[in-house]
Point group: C2
Chain length 206, copies 2
DNA sequence: CCGCCATTGACCAAATGGGTCAACACCCCT
DNA sequence: AGGGGTGTTGACCCATTTGGTCAATGGCGG
């Protein structure tokens, strides 16, 4: 790809990336037209192919970018705060996630879709152990939390899994475009987390 | 549409419907080609347009069909068993849902997608109160259950919502094509439900 | 052997696809 | 003012795909 893309104002880069992710999130790689991406970004198709030699190259770049963003912001930053309470840390993580949704409206749906992409033009470069990454991140997360606060018989791994699944479900059932929608999402998440906290923590830690 | 479609063997109808739902579930209405549907069903495009005058008509028919199936099987049948225990009834409902996934692999993703369809050719006929239907179904469900088994302070509506969200998340993150995948899905659901049951029910009802 | 009907696949005009390219508009530097 | 670099455009190309049609076929019941 043309490295000059990176010397564009950040805003403009974001605009193009977002538009592309939004479009790729809506249809298959093959069915997503460069024209639609350009139109959505309010940019000419020529410009797109000026920075990315291919539709494929654009897609691959986006994929890399999306993964980096996810790993860097959503997963790692959580720990930096040094919070050791399971639910507080998870909540902060989820807050970061919501910020991501705000900033890159198409990101999660796009990442989700790369999961199912079967296009032979992409497959060699895609197909990696995202599940494994997720799994080990969760393990790592758990190892830093105060798990003793949970009642006996509670499997914290399962709790986190349940909450992540629910978050995914919420993300799937909304477009989450406006700020209020995102806030509503976060509010609902918090309600669920609070409920779990209330009944899964030992009473002395409430 | 051509009513003779219904005199086709049930198997053949299902094949065509499934193929169409699978395809419509993958791309936008506009981007889904009749050709692809026909090919997936192993049928000529001519036949498709023999039974459905339009791509639009096919889509609208599918939409109606999918909704009927959902309402009839997934929502209503749950109550017929007369089960009044919250988790048992929910589990039965979820089992029915998994059967649906088995029988119509593309159904849920298709229904999900109709949610976002903005195509002007469809919009007049779509745009539903599926949320309302869902909401009232849940209320109705709750009114039949033994809610006294819950500990004080538990909001059963929220519990059901959490479980449904998680189920949706699970459905979103897998293709759920093979039988094992579906069983795994069900197993994970059950683990979550059991955990909730264990900690949200009063002890005398465990 | 006939007639019926589900089914085909070649066919069409129109639209859309990815990708190119010469030209433009703007800005900085003399 | 003029020149050169750069970000950007939109018209253009042609191969493919599109929704939809239709005459022809094939098989089955009578």
């Amino acid at each position: 790809m043309n490295e000059k893309f990176f010397s564009l104002p950040e805003k403009r880069q974001d605009l193009i990336r977002s538009s592309a992710m939004l479009e790729f999130g809506e249809n298959t790689f093959k069915k997503t037209s460069a024209d639609a991406i350009a139109k959505r970004a309010g940019v000419s198709k020529g410009l797109l192919f000026h920075y990315f030699k291919d539709k494929r190259e654009l897609y691959l770049y986006l994929y890399q970018y999306a993964l980096d963003v996810c790993v860097k912001h959503y997963m790692l930053r959580t720990y930096d705060f040094g919070e050791t309470d399971f639910f507080l840390a998870l909540e902060m993580g989820h807050k970061v996630k919501m910020d991501l949704v705000r900033r890159y409206p198409g990101l999660f749906r796009f990442v989700m879709r790369t999961y199912y992409e079967r296009d032979s033009v992409l497959s060699p470069k895609l197909r990696r152990g995202l599940d494994d990454l997720m799994e080990s991140t969760i393990r790592d997360f758990l190892s830093r939390m105060d798990l003793y606060k949970f009642k006996d018989g509670v499997d914290p791994y399962q709790v986190i899994r349940l909450l992540l699944l629910a978050a995914e479900g919420m993300l799937a059932e909304t477009n989450a475009s406006t700020a209020e929608e995102i806030n509503a999402l976060f509010a609902e998440y918090k309600r669920h987390a609070d409920m779990l906290r209330q009944f899964l923590y030992k009473e002395e830690y409430l």
